[in-house]
Amino acid sequence: MFWNFVLRAVQFRKRRLALAFAALAVSATLATALFSVYSDIERKMRVQFRGFGANIVIAPAGGAQTVPLAAVGLAERQGAVAAPFIYTVGRVEGEPVVVAGTDFRRAGPLTNYWRVDAARAAATGECLVGSNVAAHFRLKLGQKLELEGAPCTIRGIVSSGGAEDAQAIVPFEIAARLAGVQDAASLVQVRADGERLESVQAALAKALPGADVRLLHAVAETEANVVLKVRSTLFLLTALILAITTLCVSSNFSALVLERSKEIGILKAIGAAERKIAALFLSESLILGVVSAAVGYGVGLAVAWWIGRQIFPESAAAGVGVNYGVFLPVTGVTLAMAAVATLAAAARIWRIRPAVILRGE
């Protein structure tokens, strides 16, 4: 009987309820999408900052000229990306040229910002040259660089706007042989995750007392700062929008009760208990709340997924942009608001005098 009543109420006011439903579903959609985006934004922004390359540098300390090559392994055991670099002066056609050596496989993730014509890595007997070097010696891809002691074929031309532009870049072992050092590097660049930066630095400093383990402050702090600011902007906007939409939802539910004063009058006149009428309205609201939250959740996830794919396509493989865990908060908030708003409006049920209402006053 009770449920029959509720169902009928829904049937007869299809259009009105459809509108209320639309408004609620839209709020739930917005809430889900914003929650989803917000809960994942920090990780995604930090991925963006990986492009800046190293955020820790291990350099020689005191009177030393090199750091032990073991530093690379130590950093990798900390879960960081690390690559050794060695610098020396070589000769090309009798002119001095800076020769840099690196482990291309390891350095790859740290040198994403290099703009390279052709290959980014060189094998033994091959090399990359900086754009200034290429221009100075009029060298082209595939030609031979007459580097004394280690002639090589040019596989790529690098322009970075930095020191690399005036260097010839060769595999690490070759530069080490030219420099006459063994098991050592001029410096080691390390990229640690922003969240674990300080602990990685501390661990490396402890393990390498003879080296200078430095945080690259500009990169690390800008990353922390920008991630924090974007996150707090999103947080505040999400909070504001949620506050406004819950207000909207609650006024919607109140309206659903208020506009039915006449019906309440009739129910009371034929002897329904107030509690029973309130329960009737409450269950109607909760059904509406559940359905709109579920629909809003689905659409919201789709919106979040779409935003994630549009803006962060590189992390789409990980299924990012969608946070399934937001269902409970979204439904909880929607239902709680529905219940509170309905009950607040339902307080009127006790005050309604059937005779007055039905007379049309």
Binding site: G51, G63, A163
Partner: protein, 423 residues
């Protein structure tokens, strides 16, 4: 009569009207706040990203290849290329001068300290000068790398004839020599006071910084500069920016020239300093563009989502109000009002409600955007003044659009049917 009708309708059920207006106001507030933040967040974040340091490097058009490791030149001294110091200020007279947040001319030399060569960089620390238009401008290391951690103090280089021997040490140099602020260090046979110690983590830590004039005198290269670091606010590179400017049509070239891409700013610096080349430092420039692009895009899409839902909210609220008043419409029709008149009456009312809600909402929304800006970026956002009117207009449009369909349906129904309570 018409106006009396509308005002009566509003006066008779103020509570319901207030609820409608409130709903419209809420939708509008969401839209305004999102738009306000979105329109300015790019600029804010761009300024935050400037703490990465310079994104452009200006060097002399070298005939010889620089041979430098960690700031120490391995090239036997030959004819040095240079940029004249008195030309450097022209960087601030280029087309995008307002986007250039700072620049710092410098000169490198190396000094022998404890039997080891240490690079010494002569720079402007903070210098004020009068620009071409007469306004006071600022340049120097502190305008490019203002975020550096300094133990002690920065060197003040106000007076160009001041011969005060102050030096700032990089952290690694200070650690190696066991020096701290207030100590004395011998450079080029002259005693220098350590003003401060700089900790950056980068190659600056292996350097010693002194005033440009002091170094110029010591190495006998007056008026010469080896490099200028420039920090500029840029627009992230897109497809168009990657085109080769020399192959553009005149129209494309004008568009490229008048957009603050890193490449066009570099080009404009080369125009005023013909003896130099300006190159983007891609590590900074490229990534800062990427980060900025992501944030802008994200905010844009979120704003679109919020706008869509705000529009839907306003639309559904207005549709509801018309739906509730079908009886009223039927009575009007029954008493002889034409469809046009009823439609006009209702649309006026709805438009008025939309305008009222829009006004309140945009005001609240602007306050909210302002609050977000202050809370996060500690400065107020620059929100274009046109935003308010546009949002109010949109609120009115959404309101009328929401009311239109149910109104049309109600008008098409026979009054008798509606009044009987059926449909």
């Amino acid at each position: 009569m018409f106006l009396r009708f509308v005002s009566q309708s509003i006066r008779r059920s103020p509570r319901r009207k207030a609820m409608t207006v409130a709903a419209v106001a809420m939708g509008t507030a969401v839209a305004t706040a999102m738009l306000g933040v979105m329109l300015d967040i790019g600029d804010r974040v761009n300024r935050e990203l400037r703490s990465l340091g310079a994104n452009l490097m200006v060097t002399p058009k070298a005939r010889s290849l620089p041979v430098e490791i960690g700031g120490i030149s391995y090239r036997p001294v030959s004819s040095q290329d240079y940029i004249p110091e008195d030309q450097v200020k022209k960087i601030k007279s280029t087309f995008w001068q307002l986007n250039i947040t700072g620049f710092a001319p410098s000169m490198m030399a190396s000094a022998s300290l404890n039997g080891r060569n240490v690079p010494v960089e002569g720079v402007w620390f903070r210098r004020r000068f009068r620009g071409a238009d007469g306004s006071m401008l600022e340049a120097g290391l502190r305008t490019v790398n203002g975020g550096w951690k300094v133990d002690g103090r920065w060197i003040a280089d106000g007076n160009r004839n001041d011969d005060a021997r102050d030096a700032m040490l990089g952290g690694a140099v200070a650690r190696r020599l066991g020096l701290k602020p207030g100590d004395t260090v011998d450079l080029f046979g002259q005693p220098f006071t350590v003003a401060g110690v700089v900790t950056t983590g980068g190659e600056e830590e292996d350097r010693i910084f002194v005033r440009l004039e002091v170094l110029q005198r010591l190495v006998n290269r007056p008026g010469q500069v080896d490099a200028v670091q420039v920090g500029a606010l840029t627009k992230p590179e897109d497809e168009f920016a990657r085109k080769d400017p020399t192959k553009m049509t005149q129209k494309e070239y004008d568009r490229w020239y008048c957009t603050p891409y890193i490449s066009s700013i570099a080009h404009q610096i080369e125009e005023v300093l013909p003896m130099a080349v300006a190159r983007p430092i891609w590590r900074v420039a490229d990534n800062e563009g990427k980060v900025l692009g992501k944030i802008r895009g994200l905010m844009l899409l979120i704003t679109l989502a919020a706008l869509a839902s705000a529009g839907l909210t306003v639309w559904s609220v207005m549709a509801t109000t018309v739906l509730e008043r079908r009886g009223e419409i039927a009575i009007m029709q029954a008493t002889g009002a034409g469809n046009g008149l009823v439609a006009a009456l209702f649309s006026t009312e709805v438009a008025l409600e939309g305008a009222a809600g829009g006004l309140i909402g945009s005001w609240v929304g602007l306050l909210m955007a302002e609050w977000v800006g202050r809370a996060v970026f500690q400065t107020s956002l620059e929100i274009p003044g046109i935003l308010g009117p546009v949002v109010v207009g949109a609120a009115v449009l959404a309101s009328v659009a929401g009311a239109a369909q149910p109104l049309r349906r109600a008008l098409m129904l026979e009054p008798a049917v509606t009044l009987r309570g059926g449909e």
